[in-house]
């Protein structure tokens, strides 16, 4: 099934009708759209060359003056892109181009304009891109060697030496690029500033977790994990050291150490011994070196010298699995299956996935994957209210907000629920503070988060979660535009194009019309021709969620409190005690405006409120929701952003999901079975 992007029909004539509708052109033009002079009568047959033949002269006439070799406005050089084939390689840019031309945003009004018919011709481009035959591609991509993320390093040290603290809290902040996940190989650089932190961390971990006399429970566990043999009982010092170091390296390197590795470690151990250090101390010297080794800090996969694609080996598969499902190193069972080469057998693999998902370590799918996809990791840090003015907004509340969505997501995985449950569920996870502060629910007591049935059809699913509603709001004010954009972009994977320069804000004149409601103001601005095309997609979604305030509390009306001059006008009087103005009386007038949460999608479907929105999205946009969920999770599993050659894998995963009611465990299995997860192909050229 080809990727249905913006245009939901494979027939070009309809595509053009849609674009005309958006452009607001007269029906007469729509007639012209089917004219044979413009496009081939059978667009299904139109290949890339034919489409380029039509579009190239237009690009050269109208675009390259600003977006060409000489001047690359906004960094876009369309002249060069025309020659990069297949066109799907630059799908995103071409989509932006066809969108911008379609809505009349480009070319800018100051330069010669294409005729309406010429504008329509651009649709041939999006049509070709949409109908590209992905079966012609055979490329699993290449997972580049990357360092562990800070979170992965902490988790790995937890599983390796029972470290019960974070070593990365003073590391330079990890930055995220366009994949949105911090495990993306192209943002995980290795620099000297980090190396010094790694050295200090190695020292700290070994010193704190392996003192000569363990006193804490964690230290005792660390000792048991590391010192698997001790001299005596028929073992010489060297023999014991050998066993300890081999085992430690196998765990730390996530594969069997080479004999060179063992020799090197043995050499370090002996040097330490000869300098007079006792057995345990000498071992610890080697452990520190192992913890700064490239095989520990980097995710190393062995390469094969072949132009063909090849399967990753079982050790590498074990690491891919464990960093995907646990954000940590493989455990003993995975390593055992890797060692005897059985991990890639499908029944073994299926059993391991089941076991891993049941393990608490899989919670990282909620706390890292879902948190970074949906953005709620920022609740409590970037999403935050001043606690002096808002004493109800505590750290514990914001932790509970994050946990609600994270635990909810994990329940979908562990209970093998369908993907649509993300938006529409009849339960959530709450504790007393969250239930009473945000949701007005009684009868839930204590700080413990637990599953709670939700009878209100507006509340179930992530669009009713405080975390999501807060992160899509401004400080103490909802933003229907942000919420609409979030649904289109983050949840459905169909972001509207960015606003033209200078159009990012409500204009001052509009905002000054105080008698209008906020909705009326936004509607006014969305009536502007350059804004309308996108905002009629964005705004109705956001407005249907207006009953949720900026932290997700339910409200039936907007409340405005305005200060007035006289008691006669006021419906509220406050006495202010102040050192300068003693007992000053202040007058306020309160207004309550009912919230109108009705909306219509560009498709024409009308809906009302959050429950209506969810129903409509699941009825009309379910395919987009599924595709986005698949794309995001595959990208996280691979540790890279998806490329055009991943499309066949995405389509296969979607097909597998379709056959099993779109269930989350099927999704995870299909990802683990997918071509890019199990195979790799050396890049055509090293680009560095």
């Amino acid at each position: 099934m080809p990727h249905k992007h913006r245009f939901s029909t494979p027939f070009l004539a309809s595509v053009l009708l849609v674009s005309i509708g958006v452009m607001g052109a007269s029906p007469a033009h729509a007639q012209g759209a089917t004219n044979q002079q413009v496009v081939s009568p059978d667009p299904g047959m139109m290949d890339e060359r034919a489409a380029l033949g039509l579009v190239r002269p237009l690009v050269e006439t109208y675009c390259v003056t600003c977006h060409g070799e000489q001047t690359q406005t906004a960094g876009i050089n369309l002249a060069a892109l025309l020659d990069e084939r297949p066109l799907v390689r630059n799908r995103e840019i071409w989509t932006r181009v066809t969108d911008a031309v379609e809505v009349g945003k480009m070319p800018p009004a100051t330069v010669p304009q294409p005729t309406p018919r010429e504008r329509q011709t651009f649709a041939a481009l999006s049509h070709t891109i949409e109908n590209f035959d992905y079966s012609t591609i055979d490329d699993p991509g290449f997972e580049r060697m990357r360092r562990l993320t800070h979170r992965e390093l902490d988790n790995t040290l937890r599983d390796l030496v029972a470290a019960d603290f974070s070593v990365t809290d003073r590391f330079p902040t990890e930055l995220t690029g366009s994949s949105g996940f911090d495990n993306s190989a192209n943002t995980l650089f290795f620099e000297s500033t980090l190396m010094e932190r790694y050295i200090a961390a190695a020292e700290r971990v070994v010193e704190l977790m392996l003192p000569n006399q363990p006193t804490t429970e964690a230290q005792r566990r660390a000792h048991a994990m590391v010192f698997v043999a001790t001299p005596g009982h028929g073992l010489t010092d060297d023999q014991a050291a050998d066993q300890v170091l081999r085992r430690f390296m196998e765990r730390a390197y996530r594969r069997l150490p080479s004999e060179d590795d063992v020799d090197r470690a043995r050499g370090q151990y002996r040097a330490a011994r000869q300098s007079g250090q006792p057995f345990a101390e000498s071992i610890k010297v080697v452990l520190q070196a192992v913890l700064i080794s490239p095989k520990f800090l980097l995710r190393v996969e062995e390469a094969r010298d072949t132009p063909e694609s090849y399967a990753v080996d079982d050790w590498e598969l074990a690491s891919r699995l464990s960093y995907f499902l646990w954000a940590s190193m493989p455990d003993a069972k995975l390593r055992a299956h890797a060692a005897d080469g059985t991990l890639s057998e499908s029944d073994v693999l299926a059993g391991q996935i089941d076991r891993m998902l049941a393990d608490p370590r899989a919670d990282t799918l909620g706390s890292i994957f879902a948190a970074q996809w949906l953005g709620f990791q920022h609740v409590g840090t970037r999403i935050w209210l001043d606690p002096i003015d808002n004493p109800w907004c505590t750290d514990t509340l914001m932790t509970a907000m994050r946990r609600e969505t994270s635990m909810f997501f994990m329940s979908l995985v562990r209970d093998n629920q369908p993907v649509r449950r993300l938006l529409d569920a009849d339960y959530t996870y709450l504790n007393e503070e969250l239930a009473t502060t945000l949701y007005g629910m009684e009868g839930i007591t204590g700080a413990q988060m637990r599953r709670v049935w939700v009878t209100d059809p507006n509340r179930g699913g992530i669009l009713g979660h405080g975390s999501i509603l807060a992160l899509t709001s401004n400080y103490k004010d909802t933003s229907p535009v942000k919420r609409g954009h979030y649904v289109l972009d983050t949840i459905l994977g169909t972001p509207p194009p960015p606003p033209p320069p200078g159009a990012g804000v409500l204009s001052e004149e509009v905002a000054d019309l105080k008698q209008l409601s906020f909705r009326e103001k936004v509607e006014l601005h969305a009536s502007h021709p350059t804004c309308r095309a996108c905002h009629r997609r964005i705004d109705p979604i956001g407005f249907s969620l207006e009953n949720f305030d900026y932290f997700g509390r339910w409200r039936d009306s907007y409340h405005f409190r305005e200060r007035v001059d006289t008691e006669a006008e006021a419906d509220e009087i406050r006495t202010v005690e102040d050192t300068d103005v003693f007992n000053e009386k202040r007058y306020y007038k309160n207004t309550y405006t009912p919230i109108a949460a009705k909306g219509t999608l560009p498709s024409g479907t009308a809906f009302d409120g959050p429950a209506g929105l969810k129903r409509t999205l699941l009825a009309e946009r379910h395919d987009d929701l599924v595709r986005q969920t698949v794309s995001k999770m595959l990208s996280y599993a691979l540790g890279r952003q998806l490329e055009y050659y991943d499309e066949p894998a995405v389509q296969e995963i979607i097909a597998a999901l379709e056959a099993d009611d779109y269930r989350f465990q099927t999704l995870i299995r299909a990802i683990v079975d997918s071509y890019p997860f199990r195979y790799k192909k050396n890049p055509a050229e090293a680009t560095h």
């Binding site: 190695a202 370090q268 980097l298």
Partner: protein, 450 residues
């Protein structure tokens, strides 16, 4: 200062404070006795790039009065903190970055001269500071320093908004935000078991063996690993040599103190501490190349500590809309008029000029072995990637050069270009003065005449 083992430390009386210098503590006496007298830094040129986000309000940058030849007679009121330094400034008018500008496109390419590709995370090429670091870095402890103030608010983890230094087109460098970490990298030798030579040799050995099994496409990552270990080794070697030279440098030790760990809560104290470290880096010749981001590329920091200023920086930058309802407003701050907002926006920028003036003042006070001041031997580029914050205008980017580049720059002038001029011309001119043998940078082949 906490009372701890003071007797073991060398106590120096600095500017009104008693200071312990930790580096002397760990210096082996035998090494100190043999160390050379001091680094040969006479006339060495220093480069610094100071970036600030969110642009300026059109009209608040260029001098109020200029004389013949563009001589700067008086700066405008918003630039007034820099008035005492007007004779060491060059203020060009009409420079821009034709391939990318603004918060996302402009920040990562400010120092590369190319365009930013979000998809592949590429700034098009190596940044000017890193080109300089490759050529000059061999003579100093650290090839370069990358400093930032710790971000606040939205976008504080955004890669393009936090990256101006690129070791390669697709390798943004991490930035130090904690004053103590910067100090430690310059003045504390690496310590601990894992930094022992034999350990480093062993891991290098291992990385070498990995080259054999890793894919061709992954060799660069192993290169990064190698480089990071080598940088560490070099730091160990240098720190042994430098200890004595530094102890003998009264001017340096008098002003040097190890900052406390963590981020100072007072923003001005934080900025000045980082500025002090820039001075210390140049003075001690720990490095000759520094970049310092005064905030990430779309800072939403509050500057309410400046009298009369309300709201976040980026919200203020859209000064023509005073509704308090723009997308980046916090929803609690409101303004009475665009004029009021303009004033607050410009106050925030003027506050930053004051911090830069502090840096210039300190660099002026330090004498170099060649008799001039440290500022005479420095070239400091200070600027932003938006010509007008409200309009997101890419033209006439606020830019100035402070320092005389070893008396190679005719300072005290405003340059007025009739045509939009590529900022790369400026980068090329300064790199050449720093001793980098290149004749092109970005798309530029014609260095700015300074």
């Amino acid at each position: 200062m906490p009372a701890r083992q003071v007797s073991r430390r060398t106590i120096l009386r600095g500017l009104g404070a008693t200071i312990a210098l930790p580096l002397l503590d760990v210096m082996p006496p035998a090494v100190a006795a043999q160390a050379p007298a001091g680094p040969a830094t006479a006339g060495a040129r220093r480069l610094a790039y100071l970036y600030f986000p969110n642009g300026i309000a059109r009209g608040s940058w260029h001098p109020e009065k200029t004389g013949p030849d563009g001589r700067i007679l008086k700066l405008n009121e918003w630039m007034s903190p820099l008035e005492p330094f007007k004779d060491v400034l060059v203020i060009p008018k009409n420079v821009w970055t034709p391939l990318g500008n603004g918060h996302v496109g402009g920040t990562p390419t400010w120092l590369t001269g190319f365009d930013y590709d979000r998809q592949s995370i590429s700034a098009g090429g190596r940044s000017a500071d890193q080109i300089a670091a490759r050529h000059l870095g061999g003579e100093t402890l650290l090839p370069s320093l990358e400093l930032s103030l710790k971000g606040e608010g939205f976008f504080s983890n955004s890669l393009p908004r936090n990256s101006i230094s690129w070791a390669a087109a697709d390798r943004p460098l991490p930035r130090e935000v904690e004053p103590r970490s910067v100090f430690d990298r310059m003045f504390r030798p690496p310590s601990g078991g894992a930094s022992h030579r034999s350990v480093l040799d062993a891991v290098l050995d291992e990385a070498n063996a990995l080259r054999g099994v890793a894919s061709q496409a992954d060799q660069y990552r192993l290169d990064e690993y190698f480089e990071s270990i080598r940088a560490l080794e070099r730091r160990i070697e240098f720190s042994e040599q430098r200890s004595r030279a530094m102890r003998n440098d009264q001017a340096l030790t008098d002003t040097l103190a190890a900052p406390d760990p963590g981020i100072p809560s007072d923003h001005e104290e934080y900025v000045r501490l980082m500025m002090d470290l820039v001075v210390a880096a140049f003075q001690s010749d720990a490095t000759r190349v520094v970049t310092f981001m005064l905030d990430h590329g779309q800072s939403n920091r509050y500057f309410n500590f400046i009298p009369g200023v309300r709201g976040t920086w980026h919200a203020l930058s859209h000064y023509k809309n005073a509704s308090g309802k723009t997308e980046d407003d916090d929803g609690v701050t409101s303004w009475s008029s665009p004029e009021e907002k303009y004033r607050m926006y410009s106050e925030v920028i003027r506050w930053h000029h004051r911090q830069v003036a502090y840096l210039l003042g300190r660099l002026t006070a330090i004498r170099e072995p060649d008799g001039g001041t440290l500022l005479d031997n420095s070239m400091i580029v200070y600027g932003a990637t938006l010509g007008d914050g409200n309009e997101h205008d890419p033209h006439d980017l606020p830019t100035l050069i402070a320092g005389r580049g070893g008396h190679t720059i005719k300072s005290g002038r405003a340059l007025d270009f009739a045509e939009p001029t590529d900022l790369s011309d400026l980068h090329l001119a300064l790199l050449q003065r720093a001793g980098v043998p290149i004749d092109t940078f970005g798309h530029s082949t014609s260095p700015l005449i300074l």
